[in-house]
């Protein structure tokens, strides 16, 4: 079923009796060409692009819980391509281009809204660093504008522009950045993949791998064994647990990142705003809630909840840059488990086990990467070759000394 305005009109006039479930609920077949472990945003996007762009129809996505129950529904919905390093920026720009055409591509309203992202800076050296970053962005074909204090004052009069400690000295603005309705991304990809023959199997946990002579032949699941020519791990947050079943140790720690939303307010924020002197970022959802977040809690955890010290820290950051936020009441907060990698950058690579592939290590930047991650992973699975923009995301890059350390803090995952 294709969604369109005409269809809504027709269904509305006939009692909405013609709508069908957006995807099937199949039992797994005994064998597939490709089995994807993890039915989150990246796994579903991988399945979608495998079927649509690379002609792979005999594909299954195995999801332990329900579809999109992990970080695809727990993030703060921001899309952007404002990275510095050669290993990252072309990939994220590729992703932003895919976001721009996504809704037409998969015929689903994901509410992609390019309302802009404003990274504030608070000192001259920070401004220099942002100018350099902006230039790197433009070299990759992305858009980047450096704004001065007056322009920012016009755009966001309610920020604390003249604070003695952290005055706003400028900003890096990416007009093409923005927000997306995150659940709809999972649903859109799931529907698109399902329509092209991909089996999405929910409530099916992978409990082991069938590995013989260094070759992966399939997986053991709670719904029985499934054979596969290729097995693709795609379970960020729990990557280490899944990989451990195959005897792999990963350069990853699992950490919790908290997110917050206020009560609904009238439109006040034009786009996404990030505070450059503390870790705080905020945008406003179409429902009106201020959606904001900050740092990870800092300790290893698989619990999808954090602790109060970080709540306090995030709210302090908000009060420092945007004092009016203190008048809004906090409505909800929640946590998501992140794959924090050793250099803050992800992995899209094969493993030393033949036929076993890894997509992991997205830290807290996985949502914006969803389309490109799926596309590049599908490219790797179908052709055996890394996609041009993802060729630096190798699992052995620490051995090779080819880290992609955007922040420059070294092998300390809780600082990335």
């Amino acid at each position: 079923m294709r969604y369109s305005a005409l269809r809504i009109l027709k269904e509305g006039l006939t009692g909405n009796r013609g709508w069908q479930p957006a995807w099937r609920e199949p039992e797994p077949k005994p064998e597939y060409d490709i089995v994807i472990i993890g039915g989150g945003g990246h796994g579903l996007a991988t399945a979608y692009y495998l079927a649509k762009e690379f002609g792979e129809r005999n594909v299954a996505v195995l999801e332990k819980g329900w579809l999109g129950s992990g970080n695809i529904g727990r993030n703060t919905t921001i899309i952007r391509s404002n990275y510095l390093l050669e290993g990252n920026q072309p990939f994220y720009e590729f992703s932003l281009k895919l976001w721009e055409g996504l809704e037409q591509d998969f015929n689903y309203n994901a509410m992609v809204s390019q309302r802009g992202i404003l990274n504030l800076c608070h000192s001259d050296p920070q401004r220099d660093a942002f100018v350099r970053r902006g230039n790197a962005m433009r070299l990759s074909g992305a858009d980047a504008v450096i704004l001065g204090p007056d322009e920012i004052r016009k755009m966001c009069p309610y920020l604390d522009h003249e604070s003695a400690r952290f005055p706003i000295t400028g900003a890096l603005w990416q007009p093409r950045g923005g927000t997306v309705r995150h659940d709809a991304v999972a649903w859109g990809y799931a529907r698109g993949a399902d329509r092209r023959g991909v089996d999405i199997v929910q409530n099916c946990e992978v409990t082991g791998f069938d590995i013989k002579d260094g070759r992966c032949l399939g997986v053991e699941t709670t719904k029985g064994p499934i054979k596969a020519k290729k097995v693709a791990m795609c379970a960020a947050g729990s990557s280490s647990r899944v990989a451990a079943l195959a005897g792999l140790r990963l350069p990853i720690e699992s950490h919790v990142l908290q997110a917050f939303v206020s009560e609904g307010l009238k439109p006040v924020l034009p786009g996404v705003i990030t505070f450059g002197a503390g870790h705080f970022y905020v945008s406003q959802s179409d429902k009106g809630g201020l959606v904001f977040g900050g740092d990870i809690d800092g300790y290893n955890t698989y619990a999808q909840r954090g602790n109060l010290p970080v709540v306090e820290d995030v709210c302090e950051g908000g009060m420092a840059i945007m004092p009016m936020i203190g008048r809004a009441r906090l409505l909800r907060m929640w946590g998501g488990v992140m794959d924090m990698s050793m250099d803050g950058s992800p992995f899209i690579d094969r493993t030393h086990v033949e036929g076993l592939y890894l997509n992991a290590g997205w830290c807290y930047g996985g949502f914006k990467a969803t389309p490109a991650s799926g596309y590049c992973y599908a490219h790797l699975l179908a052709s055996g070759q890394p996609h041009e923009t993802a060729r630096f995301f190798r699992l052995d890059r620490f051995r090779q000394g080819a880290m992609i350390d955007e922040k420059g803090v070294g092998a300390q995952p809780n600082l990335h």
């Binding site: 720690e253 800092g298 290893n300 955890t301």
Partner: protein, 94 residues
């Protein structure tokens, strides 16, 4: 989270910074270790779901290093030791 410091009693976890897996105590000898050993030590982690031994530093307190055994599923603190004692017991200290 409350960390029951062996010397100071129960303290708020916000007083600490956390470094990570306590296996970081077992640094290979840089003069004799192979590249593989050094790589695995510096970059690979078990990252278990369950009990995890990790290094915490009491920055806002007595600046001692602790080995905290904590569940990564429930955040329950199970055991707290002075890292010095743990390291000595493993023959790390001279």
């Amino acid at each position: 989270m409350i960390i029951d410091h062996p010397l100071l009693g129960p303290r708020d976890a916000a007083e600490f910074v956390v470094l990570g897996d306590a296996s970081l105590i077992d640094r290979p000898d840089g003069m004799t270790a192979t590249v593989e050993e050094m790589h695995d030590y510096a970059y690979l982690r078990d990252n278990p779901a369950g009990d995890h031994r990790e290094l915490w530093y009491h920055e806002q307190g007595d600046r001692s290093w602790l080995v905290v055994t904590r569940s990564t599923l429930t955040h329950e603190v199970i055991k707290v030791e002075l890292a010095r004692n743990v390291a000595r017991a493993q023959g790390r200290s001279r």
